[in-house]
Symmetry: C2
Subunit: 239 residues, 2 copies
C-alpha cells in the first residue's frame, strides 16, 4: 500500500476555470472592469498565469450570467446594462420571486421568521451600501432556497449577478449622493416578511412583486459617461 509518503495528491491546479470565473466576476461587479472593456483570452490567460482554456470556460459562463457579451465579430467585452436591461431584470425577478414567495409561504415556520428578522436587524445596522445590498440579496436568496426547488434557484442565480452589477454601479453613484436611506429598504423588508409569514401565499406573492418593483428603480449608471470620448459619429459604421 502506498504509505503516507504519497505526494500532496490533491491537484494544486484543480479548478482553475472556476478560480478565473470568480476572479473576473468580482472584478466586473466591483467596477475594476468597466462595461465595454475588452476581455481578450490571451491577455487574461497571461494575467492569470494559465492557458486560454480555463479563461475561455470562465468567459462562456460569464456570458451566460449576462456580465459579458460576445460581439458578432467574436470579440468579448464587459456588458453594458441599459435601462431596458434593468427593467427586464426586474421583471424576471418578479416572475421568479413571486412564485418563490407563494411556495415559501406555504411551508413557512417560525424559524424562518427568526432568521429573516435577524437579517433585517443587521440591515438596519449596516454602515455601507455594499453591506446593505449584500444582506438584501441574502434575504431574497433565503426565500428562494425555502422553496426547495433547485431549478427555481438556478434560474434566479443565473440573473443574480446582473442584478448585483446594477446594484453596485447604482451604489457607486449614490455613495456620494446619499439618495435612499436605509430606512426605506429596512421597512420594505419588514412589510414583506409580515406577508411571507402571514400564511397567505397569494398575499406573499403579491407583496413580493411590489417589493421588488419598489426597490428597483433606475438610476443612470456612471458607465454611460465612460471616459472614451464620443469619437465622432463612428456609430454609423454598419454593414
Amino acid at each position: 500500500m502506498p504509505d503516507a509518503a504519497t505526494p500532496p495528491a490533491l491537484n494544486p491546479r484543480r479548478n482553475l476555470a472556476r478560480e478565473v470565473l470568480l476572479s473576473l466576476r468580482a472584478e466586473i461587479i466591483s467596477g475594476q472592469l468597466q462595461p465595454g472593456d475588452a476581455l481578450a483570452e490571451p491577455v487574461l490567460a497571461k494575467q492569470f498565469g494559465s492557458s486560454r482554456a480555463p479563461v475561455r470556460e470562465a468567459l462562456i459562463e460569464l456570458e451566460r450570467e449576462g456580465l459579458v457579451q460576445f460581439e458578432l465579430t467574436g470579440r468579448t467585452k464587459v456588458r453594458t446594462l441599459t435601462e431596458q436591461d434593468f427593467d427586464e431584470i426586474r421583471d424576471a425577478r418578479v416572475a421568479l420571486e413571486s412564485l418563490a414567495a407563494r411556495r415559501a409561504s406555504a411551508k413557512w415556520t417560525p424559524k424562518d421568521s427568526t432568521y429573516l428578522e435577524q437579517n433585517i436587524a443587521r440591515q438596519a445596522m449596516a454602515s455601507t451600501l455594499a453591506e446593505l445590498s449584500r444582506l438584501d440579496v441574502e434575504f431574497h436568496e433565503y426565500v428562494l432556497r425555502l422553496t426547495a426547488n433547485q431549478r427555481l434557484l438556478t434560474l434566479w442565480q443565473s440573473i443574480r449577478w446582473q442584478f448585483e452589477m446594477c446594484l453596485a454601479s447604482t451604489h457607486r453613484l449614490q455613495e456620494t449622493l446619499a439618495c435612499k436611506p436605509h430606512q426605506i429598504t429596512v421597512s420594505s423588508h419588514r412589510h414583506l416578511l409580515a406577508a411571507l409569514a402571514s400564511g397567505k401565499p397569494e398575499l406573499a406573492a403579491e407583496k413580493m412583486a411590489l417589493h421588488i418593483e419598489g426597490s428597483m428603480e433606475w438610476t443612470p449608471s456612471e458607465t454611460s459617461t465612460a471616459e472614451h470620448p464620443p469619437k465622432l459619429a463612428t456609430a454609423i459604421s454598419r454593414r
Copy 2:
C-alpha cells in the same frame, strides 16, 4: 468598397461547438442517448471528427440546460429526470409563463389571436404526438416572445429542453398506450387563448398557471427500466 457578393457569414462564433451541441441535444431528446449513458469527450470527439474542445463546450452548455450531469468524479452522463425534477420544471414554467401571460395580455393585438388560432387549428390536425408537442411548445414560446423581454425568454429557454425531454419520453410511452387524446390539449389551449385575449392580465396569468399545471402530469419514463440488468445489489457500493 466590399461588393454586394459578400456572403452573410453569420455566426462565426463557436461553429463546430454549436453543431455538436445541436446534434447531442437532438440525440438526447430523441432517446437515442438514454439517461445514464456516458458522454466521454474523447469518444464524442472521435465520433464527430473533431477535437475535444468543441465537444467540451457543448457538454458545458448541455449541463446548463439540464440535459447532462457532471458527476463528482468528473465523468459526464445523460441526466436522469425524476418525478421531483418534473415537478420542479413545472413550477419553473408556472413562474415564468404566468408573468409572460400577464405582460403579453397587456400588449395583445388581434394579430396575436389570429396566429395562435392557426396554431391550435394545426394542433387539432396533428397526426403524431411529436408534432402535437412541437406545436404546443411553439404556442408557449410565442407568448414568451410577445413580452419582448429577452431575459424572460432566455430563462425559459434554459429549461425548455428539459421540458421537451420530459415530453418526449412521456410520448414514447404513450405512443403505444394512447392515453391523452388531442382534444384535451386543444381545448385547453383554446381556453387559454381566450384568457390571453380577454384584456385582463390577471386572468391571463392565472389561466396560464392552471393550463401548465393541468398539462404536465407525471408519467414514469421508460428510462427507469433501462436495459441494463439490475446487476445484483451493486447499488450499495457507496463511499
